[in-house]
Symmetry: C2
Subunit: 203 residues, 2 copies
């Protein structure tokens, strides 16, 4: 009789920020989150297991799934497809379990179109945090060096706008704890909790 | 040059739910939160210290502060005034530190009028959670017993609407952890973080 859907959490951020490292550290700890495994046409690397690291598919299979609308998002990098299978995500959420995606920025924007109720977390590099501190504290940094960093920073800051939360990856354990806090507090959000009670009392 | 205001957190809930116990357990742990001490005209009990447990004031002093607008909220219980001094809250927030209030439901509603940007946490008794589970799982409870509890439950659920988060006080440690998660995740909210970066880059 439980009619509570799970929550979809999406971890994203600029390339090289350490999304994969944070995700792995998060899943090494006890968690109720279910990780949504990506699908790819790239060949498995040594040690990679189908259905654990990725779902490995041929190009034909992948393109068939795209045309059938079975991927929430997909993209092509260096000649290979990567994507998020729809069925696992929807089925798991319907079972009342939370799903966790770790995904590139472009993919996250597409997921947002399909799942606007998802919780979008943007991981930023410590260099952005340091840049802010440097500016705020009027440090001794050369003007030139700060200006070069500013261009990249502006792009990163513009990306933030599509997200609900921003986490600095200054240290993996800090970042993991913040993500865990976000997961926990999202379950305490009043709209979610109040609706559960209101539904229960209506029965 | 830091121009980041602290966040005001308000813990409230129905009488007897255990707000004080959760607040004490929270402050026994390491925290950056500053507790806003209430003001009262009630006489100190044995062991209570002025400026630690309460600010103890005479009735005249208290009424003068009310008329000067120096209390964010106040109420009278059993012939004594209780209230929240404005100066400490505003000054601490302006210093960039978070403030924590533990307060009755009526007071919380008044705080919300003054500080709509505050984060309002509603603590609910486990009996409400149990009631929901009982209804949802169609337990063997007698109809009569459930019905009696339903009236109180409806009032509690209606109260929730003025809050941002709902935490079940099923076990003190669980409740404390959830409050800590809310504090941590509120600092990761995109609007807050993005504004800090945007401000820094404008300089």
């Amino acid at each position: 009789m439980i009619d509570e859907k799970g929550i979809l959490f999406i971890l994203s951020g600029p390339s090289g920020v350490g999304k994969g490292t944070v995700r792995k550290a998060l899943f090494e700890q006890s968690t109720d989150l279910r990780y949504s495994i990506s699908m790819t046409t790239r060949a498995p690397r040594e040690g990679e297991v189908d259905g654990v690291d990725y779902f490995f598919k041929s190009r034909d299979e992948f393109e068939k799934l795209i045309s059938e609308g079975q991927l929430i998002e997909h993209a092509e990098y260096v000649g290979n497809y990567y994507g998020t299978p729809r069925q696992y995500v929807e089925q798991t959420l319907n079972e009342g379990k939370d799903v966790f995606l770790e995904i590139e920025v472009q993919g996250a924007l597409k997921v947002r179109e399909n799942f606007p109720q998802g919780v979008f977390i943007f991981l930023i590099p410590p260099s952005l945090e340091e840049l802010k501190d440097r500016i705020v504290n009027r440090g001794t940094e050369t003007e030139e060096k700060v200006k070069n960093r500013l261009l990249a920073a502006k792009e990163e800051i513009d990306m933030m706008d599509a997200y609900d939360y921003v986490v600095v990856n200054d240290e993996i354990n800090h970042a993991v704890k913040k993500v865990q806090s976000i997961v926990s507090s999202e379950h305490c959000k009043r709209e979610r909790v109040a609706n559960q009670y209101k539904k229960a009392l209506e029965e």
